[in-house]
Assembly symmetry: C2
């Protein structure tokens, strides 16, 4: 009778457990006694059976619970789908961040090869930082004061007479460009509000803007830069208060705005009471022209300026600065402090050490001809082996060729086919905040060894030939 | 006649310039000629006069503009007020981040003194990292794989038999706790949606939540932790999908949840299809109890776990990990990648080096009695010299005493008066997501030299005496 009773309890509970979520609490022994008209011994026996079957677990003083492991377990996170809902925005790792097979030819990344970096300076600086105060202390939220002063002085050196130069406190040290952009977009634009943005432009800026949930308004741009009148109309039409741009050696096409465009754009944003967010990412990566930051012309806080050292010092020294004035500075600093509190003092000390060494200027001087040679070699390889891939604008600086493919080319298909043949390239799609204006790929001439450029161009040439044939067939 | 004409033009333009915004473009020479019936020479003369007066500047090929500098310049960023609008949320630097006069007694900060850090290990690790691959290369967005594995193994070691432990890929390396919290709140809660949060709790979590624009729903907590039934009702009432808590050595009071509370809270979030965001900030700062992460009991992805090394390794080695599974992991990783792309490999290599040295365990063992002695010394000093300041719960770990002041005390006034006498303390107000539940201050016993505890307590005692007298007078 007792046996029967306990079996009945076990049977009923097993049916319930089959559909119960892992971790669900079983009815108390008292409740089971009442329900089945059974005594405590019977109920305890049933429980021991369920525990023995591995179906439940008892936590003394808390209760008995459906075990979350039943035999060899396949994790099911399906419940999260309801908890999380549909994502607000597509956030994905960029294809430029992919790690690839070691024997593949990588023209996709956004970074320079190690031999283009001041390795000796970086290692010595990090070693010194390891011995310094910076290794064991906290840094102010706005940054290492001497590094702030260096960033401000670099910009001030470009300011014409009569313009009040950026002050050290205007420079906020951040952990790389994306961190700076995220804070600028959150603090200065805000969720749901419009941000004007060059198109095409740096995918990281597009991603940061999407993360900040701002509404993107593309402004067509290219080698000649954006049209100030179009910018003016877009500011008026959308009520936007900010325009993101890369006037110097833009990513992807390496172009520089014509000399008169910077002042003209500054004039537009001044009249419209708006900000220019100037991303001077390639300041140290000049080839055939010198950088002239628009921010150097500004002294009313209309330009929020971003300069990074990640690509010219080392990817491991993730240090950049946002230079902003007035209330915008305060808002950006408050956002940074909430987001990450401060940037490691070791990295800041090392960055400052590198850029204040006598070897730094020499390194930058030596870098120019190296970038030029690489740019020209890849261009020549393409001319020879992939004539259908056209570089419409020879970059004046930066790391990349922006390559137009024949009209109607399936860009994603080309990227896939190249990968099959051991060549990794980045689809141009990622550089457009909306639909791409044409079939583009971006090729980094600074990351891969130039010995492999010919092979890369041959693969691309064959893939484009095949794509052309199948497109026409 | 020419002179008269050009003077007239100058006069009219000066009136216009007085009210024009800096950077405004002047009418073209052609327009001025037409308007004033003057010849080109007259207009050019007027322009030269205005330039000579420093009122305008000419940019060849672009136009003539109102100069933004007029004599000794006071920058006016007033225009930004309209562009930025009112802030969505109060974001401010915490008082715990203040830099103070070197002779002041600082009990306000959230960091341990340098002699409580493994300085020798940290410096050696940073020096090795400076010589390693990590110094010159990029790190994957999710983190250095070996460091991911270490964080996962630490949590897995606490998992009872039968629970599927966290895997290395579940651990995402981030640049400190605030970065992790910001991404969790953005990715898992989202703007405008409710987040349940212990009250009082870590001000950095409150700040990160406000930055993520989530709606805070305080859940009363304290030495006994939150009431699971209250949590259950709040989840049901608000439809919230996440609860932020510090079950182990909570900041501010250093308490640990009772053994049964973790499973009970896990049960509640499981039944409600919600997440527990467990901030295990003081895992390495145990004194009288061992940490038992709730996350170790979870294998359905209900707990998102955060562990930081900033306070136990070095403030300069800003490395933490978020351990999450399922779609939540993917969303958090995507948010991190958009926000900062990756964490410096130098810091990750150094952190991994420190925590895998034989000296690390020894350091943690030696740390316990040091923290205990400091905690007890500060407690005794308060008993002796500031009896009105009551430590209701002796912390089991962490760095702080949570001190209740007499009912009705003006906390901000006490903080100010202490500062006047050279003692810096943190107002408890910052630890409450809504109105404070009482007059509290937080005192860090781990940052200042214990030799100064008596003096600190004497200052606080006198300030409280004065406050009591003036309150009663």
């Amino acid at each position: 009778m007792d046996d029967d009773s306990s079996s009945r309890i076990v049977r009923e509970l097993r049916r319930w457990i089959e559909t119960a979520p892992a971790g669900a609490r079983l009815p108390s022994n008292r409740a089971l006694m009442a329900r089945h008209g059974a005594g405590p011994v019977t109920v305890q026996k049933a429980m021991r059976q369920l525990i023995g079957l591995g179906l439940v677990e008892s936590r003394p003083g808390v209760g008995t619970f459906v075990r979350s492991i039943r035999g060899p377990r396949v994790a099911d996170y399906g419940w999260q789908t309801a908890a999380l809902g549909a994502p607000h925005r597509r956030l994905a790792l960029s294809s430029t961040q992919r790690t690839v097979a070691p024997d593949a030819i990588g023209l996709h990344s956004g970074y320079p090869a190690r031999d283009l970096l001041p390795e000796r300076l970086v290692r010595a600086a990090l070693a010194r930082a390891a011995r310094s105060e910076a290794a064991m202390t906290r840094t102010p939220a706005a940054g290492h004061p001497e590094l702030q002063a260096w960033f401000a002085a670099e910009l001030a050196a470009a300011a014409p007479a009569g313009v009040t130069a950026a002050a050290p406190r205007d420079a906020l040290v951040v952990a790389g460009s994306p961190s700076g952009l995220s804070s600028i977009f959150r603090a200065v634009v805000g969720p749901g509000r419009p941000l004007l943005i060059e198109s095409p432009t740096y995918w990281g800026a597009i991603l940061a803007a999407e993360q900040a949930a701002v509404e993107l308004v593309p402004i067509p741009s290219g080698p000649a830069g954006p049209d100030p009148e179009e910018l003016d109309r877009a500011l008026a039409r959308t009520g936007s208060r900010a325009f993101y741009a890369q006037p110097t050696f833009a990513n992807p096409d390496g172009a520089q705005w014509p000399a008169a465009l910077g002042p003209a754009v500054l004039d537009v944003v001044r009249r419209r009471g708006a900000f220019l967010v100037e991303d001077d990412w390639a300041h140290d990566l000049a080839i055939d022209a010198d950088p002239h930051p628009v921010a150097a012309l500004d002294d009313d806080g209309h330009v929020i300026y971003l300069r990074s050292l990640t690509k010219s010092v080392s990817p491991a020294v993730r240090v950049a600065a946002v230079i902003a004035r007035g209330p915008a500075r305060e808002r950006i600093l408050a956002d940074r402090a909430a987001e990450s509190m401060y940037v490691s003092g070791v990295l800041q000390a090392a960055a400052l050490d590198v850029v204040t060494q006598p070897g730094w200027r020499g390194h930058l001087r030596a870098l120019r001809p190296q970038l030029r040679a690489r740019r020209d070699l890849l261009g020549q390889s393409l001319d020879r082996h992939a004539p259908a891939a056209r570089v419409e604008h020879r970059p004046l600086g930066g790391l990349n060729l922006w390559v137009r493919l024949p009209e109607g080319t399936d860009v994603e298909g080309v990227v896939r086919d190249c990968q099959t043949h051991g060549l990794i390239v980045a689809a141009g799609t990622e550089w457009f905040p909306a639909e791409p204006a044409g079939p583009f790929i971006r090729l980094n001439y600074a990351g891969e060894h130039p010995d492999r450029f010919d092979e890369a161009a041959r693969i691309l040439g064959r893939v484009l030939d095949d794509a052309g044939r199948s497109g026409g067939g």
